[in-house]
Symmetry: C2
Subunit: 479 residues, 2 copies
């Protein structure tokens, strides 16, 4: 039996890594070829959670056992195949293969970045990627921020900074009881993480003041005054407005200019949850959707959605970059605001994470190698594809479009003549289950005021109009 | 000029990925070979933040440009080399190369896991890995939890569950003002993320009630009663005690049994921050360090520290697994506690993240392929190495050991005869800067009551006693 020392030496042996690595690259290349062709495999190889557990039980051998390729074969055949062009489900992308290779580098180097020394290259890349992103949004000189582990952490980070900046008292050091209770005006369509962040901060359910949306699921700016008055009447101090660009359920973009005006008028923090839709800024054809985002105090933008990156890489951008030191500050905003003596390069001062991954590497590399136009064209193409799909749905007498899509999220339902309105919800749920368990497509559903709808995100660059025609046909046949 | 469609097809082309992947594997294997030998390269190739920015500027071409290998060459030569055996700095590991390969798989598959469908294999693997970890700690049947993005997110998750369970009122829905202000008893040696979590939750600075530590930097259990009385006297309701296993600065392990007794007596939530040290449970020789951890209500355990995984992979384990639904609950604990109708397999219900990485994959695979004894032996070996290093420091007349190490963190200082006590702090800082900028070693420093000390974490499995002898010699020569 080999000694511990021998085993360790073998585990870190570069030639062993080389062999395993080459074998894995071949295995993944073959997988990628099948998945992107989308012909030989279901999108989701459906198995129940219990079957999944039986395949990957909580039992590990004491001594070495098995092969990497054998185990990865089981993983590949049990996963949701996001590279299949008929994956049109959640807003999680079919990542660029080259970006995944960057994550291999990140994971091998493991340069953690809490302090500059622990990740000199990745700290510089993060700073540069954020500057470029801020520039794309039209944020002014002096803006900046951090990359963090996902949109939920990102929105929390932004709201913590908003609290520091606008509570009017030391909410960090003094706590929630050091002043009047606070609230944020939030459209009804916002992602659940906004309300959750507020409850984590100890503001309770009243920490959210809902703002109604219009028939297009966009925040109604004329409702903001009423919402503010309602909050004040209930003894709550509104400190911020959140706008969605776009909302999770329907992809609707709130009217950012009008919200910015309202915030300016009342001295409120203006936060844009652009996790999905801030990428519209990259496209000359669709930049108008986020007009006004350049006036935001903070923006959340996920590169793992519409910038084709593997999860997670979320940018939290602040109009005043120094604000990003306040999210997790040890002192109150009014004490140190303006004293920008902190070094940009010690990124751990400004993130929820202490150690984090070299997140910027994949985006920096992809922008460098593929060029920025690639990403602009991708946004344009998927948004346009959604419009053509919506037109096709509208033209079909047996389908109903929920709304004209603002981006690449399309909600609709199958409503053929003869099916009573009372059965339409059950029909959509049945159809979705049928399609995903058979593996024809992976799509999701959402409940809108008019009932359950099918929801598709056209996020895969290889999804074609033919795939979408096939979707409508498949739904008809499955009904 | 190729069309957008041509470019996209090329970017997702499996043969292109195969070529890039093979080239990258060779490049990384060569890197790994140099780094683990540690002879041809500095540990940290020191450059200033501004130089870093000049190497990786915020400028991207509009059209395709450059090669992956060229850019990665720049990244490799600008990073901190954690695989160098003289990397003995922060508690961020030289990850197992096979675990990094798993992250390539994770990043290509991108199975996000908010809901089971989005990651069938990774959801099952996460459940199984957590069950195994809970078993190693001796937690009872019915325990469970989640994997999350780092120890800071993990401790926050645990404290949110503690708040739900023990506030005695609806802190989630009602907010911090729905009942008396809360506080947590925390040893002075705890990681900053504990105090930060409490301030994020809106409890202010008084949300932490500090508990003094002894000369060995371990929480003094007899001080708990006094701390509790102090909190109550100030009108604060203590709901939990945090214990460190071990503390960040010195690696000291708090006396968990005594803390568990205290918590039981007063009905307090018992949380163990075992980010670094919970791995002691894997080693038959050092399991005694965490005796009592099996009585914890919640434990945080980073696999990217002493389980050799690339960041991030943090387990948050709950004695009652159902508690893990309460961290981010929409209702108060007393409403749904006991109604365990939630499915374990929809992991997004219980994590800060909505989408997250396939974190479990690397740990599941490493445990399967290398066997569990490998990890047990690794913990034993590094803890023992630290003891031998400490003995060597103690035997050297010109060095001072700060304390007998509880684990693989060793704090000491160079204090040769003739240097006045008033200059010792500056000397340590000078020595550290000298060593890390020259690239001889990467180590850090910490301020203890007796002053600035050098701090080493013997986390790399290939660091030898010869390396540590060389460290002492290098410090002497650099002085």
């Amino acid at each position: 039996m080999p000694s511990y020392r021998d085993r360790v030496t073998a585990a870190y042996d570069s030639e062993h890594f080389r062999r395993q690595g080459h074998q894995l690259v071949d295995q993944l290349a073959d997988y990628l070829s099948s998945a992107t062709r989308g012909q030989d495999m279901p999108v989701l190889p459906w198995i129940s959670p219990d079957e999944g557990l039986a395949r990957f039980p909580a039992k590990f051998p004491e001594e070495p056992s098995g092969t990497l390729s054998g185990l990865m074969e089981r993983v590949l055949s049990t996963s949701n195949h996001l590279h299949h062009p008929r994956y049109i489900g959640h807003q999680v992308t079919a990542p660029l293969p080259v970006a995944s290779l960057c994550d291999l580098v990140s994971s091998l180097l493991n340069n953690g970045m809490a302090v500059y020394e622990m990740g000199p290259a990745s700290s510089a890349m993060e700073h540069s990627v954020l500057r470029w992103m801020a520039g794309q949004l039209g944020l002014p000189e002096g803006s900046g921020g951090v990359l963090t582990s996902g949109g939920s952490a990102g929105n929390l980070t932004a709201l913590l900074a908003a609290r520091q900046a606008r509570a009017g008292y030391d909410a960090w050091g003094g706590g929630a009881s050091a002043g009047p209770p606070l609230t944020v005006l939030v459209p009804e369509t916002a992602h659940y993480c906004i309300s959750r962040s507020v409850k984590m901060m100890g503001w309770g359910a009243e920490g959210i003041t809902p703002v109604p949306v219009d028939a297009h699921f966009r925040l109604r700016p004329e409702a903001l005054e009423e919402a503010r008055a309602r909050a004040l009447g209930a003894g709550r101090r509104p400190i911020a407005v959140v706008a969605c660009a776009g909302s999770t359920s329907t992809g609707a973009f709130d009217p950012l200019e009008a919200v910015a005006d309202f915030c300016e008028r009342h001295g409120l923090w203006f936060h844009v949850d652009g996790a999905h839709g801030a990428s519209a800024a990259l496209s000359p054809s669709f930049r108008h959707q986020v007009k006004g985002i350049e006036r935001a105090d903070s923006v959340v933008w996920d590169a793992h959605k519409m910038m084709l990156m593997p999860a997670l890489i979320t940018a939290v951008l602040f109009r005043e970059g120094s604000r990003s030191f306040e999210s997790f500050a040890q002192e109150a905003s009014y004490l140190f605001h303006g004293q920008d003596t902190r070094r940009w390069s010690d990124i751990g001062l400004r993130t929820l994470e202490c150690t984090k991954e070299m997140m910027a590497l994949k985006l920096y590399t992809s922008l460098s190698l593929l060029g920025t136009r690639f990403f602009a064209d991708y946004v344009t193409a998927t948004f346009e594809l959604a419009r053509r799909f919506a037109a096709r749905i509208q033209a079909a007498p047996d389908f109903e479009l929920a709304l004209e899509p603002d981006c690449n999220i399309v909600c609709f339902r199958y409503a053929p003549e003869g099916v009573p309105a009372s059965q339409l919800d059950a029909l959509q749920t049945h159809l979705r289950e049928r399609l995903i368990t058979r593996g024809d497509f992976y799509l999701v559903q959402t409940t809108l005021p008019r009932g359950v709808h099918l929801r598709t995100t056209l996020i895969h660059p290889l999804t074609s109009e033919e795939d979408l025609s096939a979707l409508l046909e498949t739904l008809r046949r499955a009904a």
